[in-house]
């Protein structure tokens, strides 16, 4: 890779725009790294899902088959499968190489907001507007979900899986954590509609952004608040938040066209990354390196800690 190994000094932040990709697929609803961070997935409002190379910014494959705009996508650990969800209430399991639909999963009563593989890509979790999370089996030919988690009182806006835990954020203002190993459901009341939830990399904390323009870091085991990050604007849109790969910073989209980056421990704003004039809808942090993806309108931006020498990074910058 072109990036040096992380140095022992102060952690770097992805503040240099490496490239900007015009996805040509309407508004990009979500942008996601794949498991190893070499590729990115962009979910377009023109019903297509596109696979790009992060380093070169080239389009590798277009996956079309959804009936409405694609809202979220995830790649399996072995890069062999993709899953995506859409406003057409379906999930699609894709074969990466051929671009064929492996399976189309129906059952949600509303548009499906979020989708995630588990670690072994044996189960797909999907959260929907109908207030349910469905667990789909990818190994059997069953078309019914394994289990339906209908504890949510409202639309499930975000969902993350880590090891044996499932974290869901719901518009009813609650973050639910399903612990499969313990067989327990922990509900944290946040009060404001949750737009995005995340596990920290160490799995000890949960991050949740809500529509009261606040990102909160909660202790996973007790539910106590460890940090609160404000300053950005998130009042009406379903925007993403995430943690940096080393758990040093908290990042969140904002409606004012910036990505806000706070120090996790201090809670101070360390970086206000100007992306554009419109709303930064989605972001994704590289699983290991200091690299960030943002999505604004129809474009996806790749940010790195240091400017790329060889690449024409800002050729397409806005």
């Amino acid at each position: 890779m072109s990036f040096p190994e992380p140095r022992p000094q102060a952690p770097q932040l992805p503040q240099h725009l490496l490239r900007s990709i015009d996805c040509q697929q309407g508004a990009v609803r979500a942008v996601r790294f794949n498991a190893d961070g070499n590729y990115l997935l962009s979910c377009g409002s023109d019903k297509s899902l596109k696979l790009w190379s992060v380093s070169r910014g080239t389009l590798l494959k277009t996956y079309s088959g959804h009936g409405y705009e694609v809202l979220d996508a995830d790649g399996s650990y072995d890069n062999s499968q993709l899953c995506s969800c859409s406003s057409d209430k379906t999930l699609i399991l894709w074969d990466v190489a051929t671009g064929q639909v492996t399976r189309k999963l129906r059952g949600h009563a509303g548009k499906v907001n979020c989708v995630q593989f588990n670690e072994e890509a044996s189960v797909i979790f999907s959260g929907s507007l109908d207030g349910s999370v469905r667990c789909w089996d990818t190994r059997s030919r069953r078309f019914e979900p394994i289990q339906i988690l209908d504890e949510a009182r409202d639309s499930v806006s975000s969902l993350k899986v880590a090891q044996h835990e499932l974290l869901t954020g719901c518009v009813d203002g609650r973050v639910r954590r399903y612990d499969l190993r313990m067989g327990q459901l922990h509900v944290d009341f946040i009060s404001s509609p949750i737009t995005c939830v995340c596990f920290s990399q160490d799995g000890q904390c949960t991050l949740s952004s809500s529509l009261d323009s606040t990102v909160r870091l909660l202790d996973k085991s007790t539910g106590e608040m460890l940090g609160e990050y404000t300053g950005h604007k998130m009042k009406g849109y379903k925007l993403d938040c995430c943690l940096s790969s080393k758990d040093t910073h908290v990042l969140s989209c904002s409606e004012d066209g910036h990505v806000y980056c706070w120090d996790l421990v201090e809670g101070s704003l360390t970086l206000k990354l100007p992306v554009g004039k419109a709303v930064v809808q989605s972001l994704s942090f590289h699983p290991t390196e200091t690299r960030l993806l943002t999505a604004m309108e129809g474009r996806v931006q790749v940010w790195g800690a240091e400017p790329e020498e060889e690449g024409d990074g800002d050729a397409m910058a806005m």
């Binding site: 309407g26 508004a27 409002s45 409405y68 705009e69 509303g110 907001n113 588990n118 072994e120 044996s122 189960v123 507007l129 667990c135 089996d137 190994r139 394994i146 289990q147 209908d150 504890e151 409202d154 639309s155 806006s157 044996h164 518009v171 203002g173 399903y178 612990d179 499969l180 190993r181 313990m182 067989g183 327990q184 459901l185 922990h186 509900v187 944290d188 009341f189 946040i190 009060s191 509609p193 529509l211 009261d212 909160r216 202790d219 007790t222 539910g223 106590e224 608040m225 009042k235 009406g236 849109y237 379903k238 925007l239 409606e255 004039k277 419109a278 709303v279 809808q281 309108e297 129809g298």
Partner: protein, 910 residues
């Protein structure tokens, strides 16, 4: 007999290995290597070679290689030592259970199925029949597996003195043998006795009748001609000559007699003989007929010339029995009759069953009586017509038919029907009494349980009801059900057919509504008899309970739509109280940023087994087949949420104090007020900022206010939302476990303001009311604002859409129009608009960025309201809004209106 194809055979045993020519012959196993091993490869030890003993256990001991360990005694209080019943099987090893062990546990032929104890006669019969079969010896295979358990009949016969081998029937005297007509001595069946016992046949000795061989009536299956006999094994072995005489009527008689042990007369030489076989080359007798030659002398020439003296009743039974039909003979074995039975003196005559008479063709099984025509009532009808009517089917009197049978009529109706005049004089016994006596009688009867005697002040709650007598209880119930019901509610007329009865019933119902307890007695017709009245009383009470107004019937289940805070307080379902406390506490904790215990709830949750399997983790609850949350999950808006109202109230009441005003957390103004009251600087700041924006919006937007409309809107919307909130809360409450009161005290005691401290405000109703009034005011204000915003959006949206259409990029245009469409139906946090729309909006930003933001702005409350609206509010609400909007602008579409409506909602919350 030889089968051509190989697969017809059943092979037994292990086939020998095919011999290979060039393979060297295997060396035979030397003698000392020929050891016996059991199935597990262990050497079988033979103990006691002369007695054929076997080994068991460890060198015929109960021990093992390690020695013998006695079973340890284990007993505790929880686990009593079980009584050990040692069975012999416990001391056996698998060899003993094996095929040759002492207790074989494998499937083998049981005693009943073994051929050792066979019914001899049946055996012989089978053998006889086998002779005639195509393949002789065919049936022997069946005999091997045929069960020969003696039936009940056999058992009974045995009790009566019958023995196997004997015939059934009274004992008979032996008859002298008779000579056959053709001179030859044909031995009758069972001839071994007759042969031997012929010489001494005393007069007074009776013999059991000879056994009868049952005849096996089997259809002839072969293609051979009649009388064909295959190879006779008996003859083949014994070399008998063909029979001298062929009795066509008893074709097997001779063979049978042979099987019965008929004496041999003249031994013949051996050799195979039969109709289908010739004579072998070695046969020395040349005159033996090779081919079957028939001679007429071997056949009878006279039909029935021979008396069947033998015991073959099967063939000649009719003759035999008609001859010997004698009652006295039957009585011979009177003594042998089973105990308790006697021989019938009279033979039972056959009952002749006559066939039922044949029905005439046009017979119909259902008969309808013609209704009686009341001719006397038909005034002005000629007698002839009346007669015709009487004969007719009675079309004119259908209304009487509808009234049901005559048992449904009361005396008055019957009287009217019969055309009688009303009786003069008192109609009831009561009228004959003196008034004071009547009073006394009535009160007496009332005290007996029909009615409560003293007019107590009406305490009509269900709980206060004492359990009265059955009738009284029903009446009381009807009374409580109907009291206070509106007159318009009564639409059902149970006694519609009988107008006077219906009128009486309505009178009764009206009195019920007024809470009149004596209404029943008063509404009944005093002219009726006592019996009729009591019947009608019962009917009325039952009907009134059955058709009681729904408001009271479901009042415990449903809450009425409320038009204001006061009403909500004074009545309605008080379910959500304590739950809202929880939510309020949580909300308060969130506002105070006290995340942790207060905001955390933990439930037992059962993942699906398959899910655990896919995650490679053990099932946390291996035994339970349950999946999901363990609490009973209830439908959000189900009626059943309210079915347990009273009990939940009773049970949940003690640990927590009654709440302050039941607000839902979606009750924005309340929350806002709470926030404002709190000294938290952040929330204060936030709310201040919100107020600012609102006021700014207020200023920038137009001036038209429609207080009346907003008022109406508030009235119509609010209860719905309240209710929805309440229901949802109530449901959530069921899942949440209440934290102990002390905790809340500890937390909230420090906070000075009254709104957040739930423990301090116990049941301060006045305070509550006082607090709720400003809330209402705040709400009206809010709605005013919202009405402005709606007017704003109405002016903005068309311009936006126009800007979209004027956009240059076709693709972007496509996407944006799509997203606009999408926006219209979106719920929850929305997705940002694609580029074109934003650009268009940005261009207008200088004009009213605040407004556009407001338009796009959606948040939780808005979302909630939308959802609720979608679920709860019917079209009515929307139509109302639509009308309102239409007054603004007639051209906007419904979807546009819907969207605006959402925006209105959003304004309401911030």
């Amino acid at each position: 007999m030889a089968s051509d194809s190989e697969e017809d055979f059943v092979s037994y045993g292990v086939p020998l290995e095919p011999l290979e020519e060039d393979e060297p012959r295997k060396k035979p196993v030397p003698l000392h290597d020929q050891t016996v091993k059991d199935e597990k490869g262990r050497f079988q030890r033979f103990h006691g070679a002369f007695t054929g003993g076997f080994s068991a256990g460890y060198f015929n001991t109960v021990g093992t290689k390690e020695g013998w360990a006695p079973s340890t005694f284990v007993s505790s209080r929880e686990q009593k030592s079980e009584k050990q019943n040692a069975r012999p099987e416990d001391f056996m090893d698998e060899e003993d259970f094996g095929e040759h062990g002492i207790a074989p546990s494998q499937i083998s032929t049981s005693q009943e199925f073994t051929s050792s104890r066979r019914d001899k006669t049946r055996e012989t019969a089978r053998a006889v029949n086998a002779q005639s079969a195509l393949i002789p010896g065919d049936t022997t295979l069946k005999q091997l597996i045929a069960p020969t358990r003696s039936s009940v009949g056999v058992e009974l016969l045995r009790r009566m003195g019958w023995r196997e081998g004997q015939g059934v029937g009274p004992r008979v005297k032996r008859k002298p043998r008779r000579q056959l007509t053709d001179g030859s001595l044909l031995p009758p069946a069972g001839s071994e006795e007759s042969d031997d016992d012929d010489e001494f046949a005393p007069e007074n000795v009776t013999f059991a009748p000879k056994d009868v061989t049952p005849v096996d009536f089997r259809p002839r299956l072969g293609v051979q001609g009649l009388g064909y006999r295959g190879l006779d094994p008996g003859r083949a072995l014994q070399g008998r000559a063909a029979p001298d005489h062929i009795d066509l009527f008893r074709p097997q008689s001779e063979a049978r007699s042979r099987l019965f042990g008929g004496a041999e007369r003249g031994a013949r030489r051996g050799g195979v003989a039969g109709q289908a076989f010739g004579i072998g080359a070695l046969e020395d007798d040349d005159d033996e007929e090779v081919y079957h030659r028939d001679s007429m002398s071997r056949y009878d020439t006279v039909l029935g010339g021979e008396e069947p003296g033998d015991g073959l009743y099967g063939w000649t039974a009719p003759q035999q029995y008609t001859k010997k039909r004698d009652k006295s003979k039957d009585a011979a074995y009177l003594g042998k009759i089973l105990e308790g039975f006697t021989l019938a003196q009279k033979t039972q005559e056959l009952k002749t069953i006559f066939p039922p008479p044949s029905l005439p063709r046009d017979f119909r099984p259902v008969h309808r009586f013609r209704p009686a025509v009341d001719v006397s009532h038909l005034s002005g009808v000629s007698p002839a017509l009346a007669q015709a009517l009487r004969a007719s089917r009675g079309h004119m009197v259908t209304e009487e038919l509808q009234q049901g049978g005559r048992h449904q009529l009361d005396s008055g109706q019957r009287r009217a029907l019969l055309g009688e005049d009303a009786l003069q004089g008192p109609s009831s016994v009561l009228e004959l009494l003196k008034p004071e006596d009547r009073e006394r009688l009535l009160s007496l009867r009332a005290s007996a349980g029909v009615l409560p005697p003293n007019p107590t002040p009406p305490t009509f709650s269900h709980d206060a009801l004492r359990p009265p007598a059955a009738g009284g209880g029903l009446q009381q119930e009807a009374l409580t059900a109907w009291r206070g019901a509106q007159a318009s509610n009564q639409t059902f007329k149970p006694f519609d057919k009988n107008p006077s009865k219906q009128a009486r019933y309505e009178l009764y119902v009206n009195r019920l509504k007024q809470g009149d307890k004596d209404g029943l007695e008063q509404s009944l017709d005093p002219g009726m008899t006592e019996w009729e009245r009591s019947r009608e009383r019962d009917e009325f009470v039952r009907a009134s309970i059955l058709y009681r107004p729904s408001s009271s019937f479901l009042s415990s289940r449903f809450t009425r739509a409320k038009s204001g805070e006061e009403e909500e307080k004074e009545e309605g379902v008080e379910v959500s109280k304590d739950h809202e406390v929880v939510v309020d506490d949580q909300q308060a904790a969130v506002n105070m940023k006290m995340f942790g215990k207060l905001t955390r709830e933990t439930f037992e949750w059962h993942p699906d087994k398959l899910l655990c399997k896919r995650f490679n983790i053990p099932d946390p609850y291996p035994g339970s087949g349950f999946v999901g949350l363990h609490k009973v999950k209830r439908d959000k808006f189900s009626v059943f949420n309210f079915l347990t109202v009273t009990e939940s109230r009773d049970s949940a009441a003690p640990p927590k104090p009654p709440d302050l005003g039941r607000r839902s957390r979606w009750d924005v103004s309340q929350q806002k007020k709470e926030e404002q009251k709190q000294s938290d600087p952040l929330t204060e700041l936030l709310s201040a900022a919100r107020n600012q924006t609102e006021s700014r919006a207020d200023l920038t937007s137009g001036t038209e206010r429609r207080p009346a409309e907003t008022e109406a809107e508030r009235k119509s919307e609010d209860p719905d939302e309240k209710k929805a909130g309440g229901e949802e809360e109530e449901e959530e409450q069921e899942e949440e476990s209440r934290l102990p009161l002390d905790l809340f005290k500890a937390i909230f005691a420090s906070s000075s303001d009254e709104s957040s401290s739930s423990s301090e405000e116990e049941t301060n109703e006045e305070e509550q009311e006082g607090r709720e009034e400003p809330e209402v005011k705040a709400e009206t204000q809010l709605f005013n604002i919202s009405s402005f915003s709606s007017s704003i959006t109405s002016s903005i949206t068309p311009s936006i859409t126009s800007s979209i259409t004027s956009s240059t990029s076709s693709q972007q245009q496509h996407a944006s129009s799509q997203s606009v469409k999408q926006e219209e139906e979106e719920f929850g946090p929305k997705l940002p608009p694609p580029a074109a729309l934003v650009r268009g909006r940005a261009s207008r930003e200088e004009k009213g960025s605040q407004r556009s933001k407001d338009k796009k702005h959606k948040d939780k409350k808005q979302h909630k309201h939308k959802k609720e609206k979608k679920k709860k509010k019917g079209k009515k609400q929307k139509h109302k809004e639509k009308r309102k909007e239409d007054s603004d602008e007639d051209t906007v579409s419904t979807q546009e209106l819907l969207r605006r409506l959402k925006n209105v909602k959003s304004r309401e919350t911030w």
